[in-house]
């Protein structure tokens, strides 16, 4: 390829990547102010909570001691490193250690000096109401609610996103196969889905959770067993419609294999319906983890989660800050996703005109 040709391709490339159709979609999405703001808030909160260790932690971000720098957030140091007596990891909230460090240097603490499992021993009674020390109070085991919410938000969103992606992949493949081949394959899979969907999934999950020690990946796998069915119908319908289009016939006349026709020709055209559905699946995923945690069959005991906070709120009605916090955070998270979805749907609606 000559230099001139290369320059030409480079010039054509960005145009090819963002087709006029997608530019139009982007414009509609941007014109949807509520959706755009929601997306920004969602993304900013998510990125912030990804770095939760730097925001809420019972270890300092940076320690200067005796002319050297230490990063306790990332590295575990024994107490002896700071002139203490024990070989175990330093406890930076220990007044004795604080005194030792501050004699020969300084510490920088995160904005919230409590981790998600830090029990604040200075308090007399739990749950403690909101105060300058604990902005949203503590839960019934003396852990800071703000710290728990930050970590809980992170795990909820991460879990939701991973489950959404995985269940969409399974759902799209299953729907595509049914819609494209039709006939007995379709009939058989449809009946299987009807039976599978009729299973009382929450009870099954509770039973399974009793057999295995539930952790993030176990719960993901168990919920995935049932979550994939949401997309099947939509994708199947799109493929049933799409398989008779002339361009699909043309591809067949060119000698394209079934897999190629399905994923290079029909799927991109079925993507709109699929994408429109994704936020609902995300919401569903977040909620199913929350409900499991609420019932106590979710993440291992002590894990920070919104469901756990809700359960504490239910058990401690005299401490309304627990329930209120959990409710506000959940409602905000789910509403954000719904608002983003609204803008998404408008952007992909071919009949939508500019106002």
């Amino acid at each position: 390829m000559s230099a001139a040709q290369a320059a030409q391709t480079a010039e054509a490339a960005p145009r090819a990547r963002l087709s006029p159709l997608n530019r139009r979609r982007l414009a509609i999405f941007k014109s949807h102010r509520r959706g755009l703001w929601s997306l920004w808030i969602f993304v900013v909160l998510f990125v912030l909570t990804l770095f939760a260790e730097l925001i809420a932690n019972d270890k300092p971000i940076l320690v200067r001691y005796d002319g050297a720098f230490y990063v306790p957030v990332l590295v575990s140091y024994p107490e002896t490193a700071f002139g203490g007596e024990f070989e175990t990891e330093a406890v930076y909230t220990d007044p004795e250690l604080v005194r030792l460090i501050e004699e020969k240097g300084w510490m920088i603490w995160p904005p919230i000096p409590f981790g998600n499992r830090t029990v604040d021993g200075t308090l007399d009674a739990f749950p403690a109401p909101p105060s300058a020390r604990h902005w949203l109070g503590t839960d019934d085991q003396g852990r800071d609610v703000v710290a728990r919410v930050i970590y809980g938000y992170r795990i909820s969103v991460l879990f939701g996103l991973v489950l959404t992606v995985l269940s969409s992949i399974v759902g799209i493949v299953a729907g595509a196969v049914q819609g494209y081949f039709g006939g007995w394959i379709d009939l058989g899979l449809q009946r299987f889905i009807e039976i599978w969907g009729g299973l009382p999934q929450l009870y099954l999950l509770i039973i399974l959770a009793a057999v295995v020690e539930p952790n993030f990946w176990w719960l993901l796998g168990l919920l995935l067993l049932f979550a994939w069915m949401g997309l099947v119908d939509v994708v199947r319908a799109e493929f049933l419609r799409g398989r008779n289009f002339d361009y699909v016939r043309a591809a067949r006349a060119l000698g394209a294999t079934d897999a190629r026709i399905m994923f290079a020709h029909i799927l991109p055209n079925a993507m709109v319906a699929t994408l429109t559905f994704l936020p609902f699946i995300l919401n569903g995923s977040i909620l199913s983890l929350t409900s499991l945690d609420f019932l106590g069959f979710g993440l291992p005991p002590g894990s920070p989660s919104l469901g756990d906070l809700l359960a504490q709120g239910k058990n401690n009605l005299q401490a309304p800050w627990l329930a209120i916090t959990a409710f506000v955070v959940l409602a905000m998270l789910l509403s954000l996703v719904v608002f983003i979805d609204e803008a998404f749907r408008d952007a992909f609606d071919p009949r939508k005109t500019f106002r």
Binding site: S19, L21, R249, A256, N269
Partner: protein, 548 residues
């Protein structure tokens, strides 16, 4: 022009602008004036995008306001009343009552969930408050009027899907006539139907017009239809009327260059006379495509729809076999069966090899040599792929071309061959017109250097002048590459221009088969004669040979 007293409909300085967002505007109709007198037929003729349908829709104020708007100065007066900006309740009294409209697409302009009685009854109810037995009697009368008289009572309970395209269009006309309108707007009412049905519908409209003394505004891209039905004609281009006048005068002595271009642009010419005897590329013996009809709980096969029933043909290199017949005669199914895109019985020999027994994997290398171009250029290109990707698809599947650069060069060649700017390969199908899309579809087939090409009505969705260009292109490509064409069409004018041999199909059977000259000069069968009359003279023949 006879500008008597006040015309029934008077359109003065009509402009229509569409807002494209971001403050940009597109003028679809630009300062158009015309008038229709009582009992007269005015034809608006032009190619797609010339603004003829938009003009018609603005008469009934049916455009998507406020995205569309009429700039100041636009005026449409109907029987002395201004319609632009008229209040909605007033417009509703005019719509479907004094001005009625028949749309192009009979498949989608009827509500699929309502019976014929309900569809027609609705207009009667809205404008006349007619219900019950009175309405029923009137509906039967209307059905008789539009030629659906036989078993009219039975037809009342029919749903649109139980009727053929021509019958649906007749129902549409019955709905339009229900309140004896003063003006009938017909927006390409015959474009989506066969030539034989077109001839019948045109005669029906003409009859009804004389009987009721209606004025008619007839929109079409087909000059032959204009010549047949209209008194006066307005030629539109890019939202402007470039020529207007009496039909006879305009056709005899076109003033504007564009009108001359339109009149000259019909598919014409003949395939060249050849004396050599090339080898057969495709031979088929006793092809049958039967679709089972299943019934009952156990889905037992109780009968068959015989889409293609015992057709034999032989196609030689560099020659064209025209397959003609009405819709539903099995033309397309035959084409698909030959390419093994439809399951069939019988023997299909491609270059001497029986391809009917081959498995999909064994057939794949042969797919390169047999290709197809479909009727609808809007449906046959995937909207998510750029033109370059669409053409490259076949190259990738058959692993032709060593690298991306070599494939790109082939794509450029193919686009040049179909007379498209090679730079268009970076753009998407929706940016192209119908004719250009059809060229892209041809390029997709050509890039594989096939020897056999099925052309499934490649011109019927296109404007007349574009049809002529495509026919010219096909003829050229055939001479250059020695392609064998199976040319499927209901339009005998196009077939005449291309085919060396003609096969006439009816209900899956061969009615007539022979050299094109023999069949066109002296058709033997009534069915063939009826097709000819409909295509060349737009005359409906009353022999019962064709369907209604």
């Amino acid at each position: 022009m006879n500008e008597t007293a006040t015309p029934l409909l008077d359109v003065r300085n009509l402009s229509v602008e569409f807002s494209l967002g971001g403050g940009r505007r597109f003028a679809a109709v630009d300062d158009v004036s015309f008038s229709v007198a009582k009992g007269e037929t005015l034809a608006l003729v032009g190619e797609s995008g010339s603004g003829k349908s938009v003009s018609a829709l603005s008469i009934l104020q049916l455009l998507p306001y406020p995205v569309a708007r009429h700039p100041a100065g636009s005026s449409i007066t109907f029987a002395g009343e201004e319609l632009v900006g008229a209040p909605e309740h007033r417009l509703r009294q005019v719509r479907g009552n004094r001005i009625a409209m028949v749309f192009q697409e009979p498949m989608t302009s009827l509500n699929p969930l309502h019976t014929i009685e309900k569809q027609i009854g609705e207009t009667l109810l809205i404008h006349k408050g007619m219900t019950g037995a009175a309405a029923r009697a009137r509906i039967i009368e209307l059905l008789r009027l539009v030629g659906l008289g036989a078993q009219a009572e039975k037809r009342l309970d029919a749903y649109p899907h139980q009727l053929s395209g021509g019958q649906r269009q007749r129902v549409m006309i019955a709905m339009a006539l229900a309140n004896e309108p003063d003006l009938l707007i017909a927006d390409e009412p015959t474009t989506a139907v066969d030539v034989t049905i077109q001839a019948q519908l045109l005669r029906l409209l003409k009859d009804l017009q004389t009987r009721f003394g209606m004025a008619m505004l007839f929109i079409t891209h087909d000059l032959n239809v204009v010549r047949k039905i209209a008194d006066r004609v307005c030629v539109m281009r890019n939202g402007k009327i470039v020529e207007a006048g009496d039909v006879k005068t305009v056709f005899a002595n076109p003033q504007h260059e564009y009108t001359r271009h339109l009149i000259a642009a019909e598919p014409k010419g003949r395939p060249p006379k050849r004396t050599d005897q090339p080898q057969a590329v495709m031979e088929a013996n006793d092809i049958k495509v039967w679709f089972p009809i299943k019934a009952g709980v156990f889905r037992r096969t109780v009968g068959h729809v015989k889409a293609v029933d015992g057709v034999s043909l032989a196609l030689k290199a560099g020659r064209t076999l025209g397959v003609v017949g009405e819709s539903g005669s099995g033309k397309t199914t035959l084409g698909l069966a030959l390419l093994r895109l439809e399951h069939s019985e019988g023997q299909i020999l491609f270059k001497g090899q029986d391809i009917r027994a081959l498995r999909a994997g064994e057939l794949r290398p042969l797919r390169r040599e047999m290709q197809i171009v479909f009727q609808d250029p809007f449906g046959s290109l995937s909207p998510r792929l750029s033109v370059g990707e669409i053409i490259a698809e076949g190259l990738k599947i058959h692993r032709i071309g060593a690298d991306a650069a070599e494939r790109d060069a082939m794509i450029v060649d193919a686009l040049n061959e179909v007379r498209l700017d090679p730079e268009t390969r970076h753009r998407y199908p929706h940016e192209f017109s119908g004719g250009q899309r059809q060229r892209i579809a041809i390029a997709r087939a050509l890039v594989l250097k096939p020897s056999f090409l099925v052309l499934d009505e490649p011109t019927s969705a296109l404007d007349m002048s574009v049809q002529a260009q495509i026919v010219e292109l096909m003829r050229e490509l055939q001479a250059k590459h020695g392609l064998a064409y199976l040319f499927i069409s209901h339009d005998l004018r196009v077939v005449r221009a291309l085919a060396d041999e003609v096969l006439v199909l009816k209900d899956g059977h061969v009615v007539e088969h022979g050299p094109a000259d023999a069949i066109f000069e002296a058709p033997q069968q009534d069915y063939t004669k009826a097709l000819m009359a409909a295509a060349f003279a737009l005359e409906a023949v009353e022999t019962g040979a064709v369907r209604t």
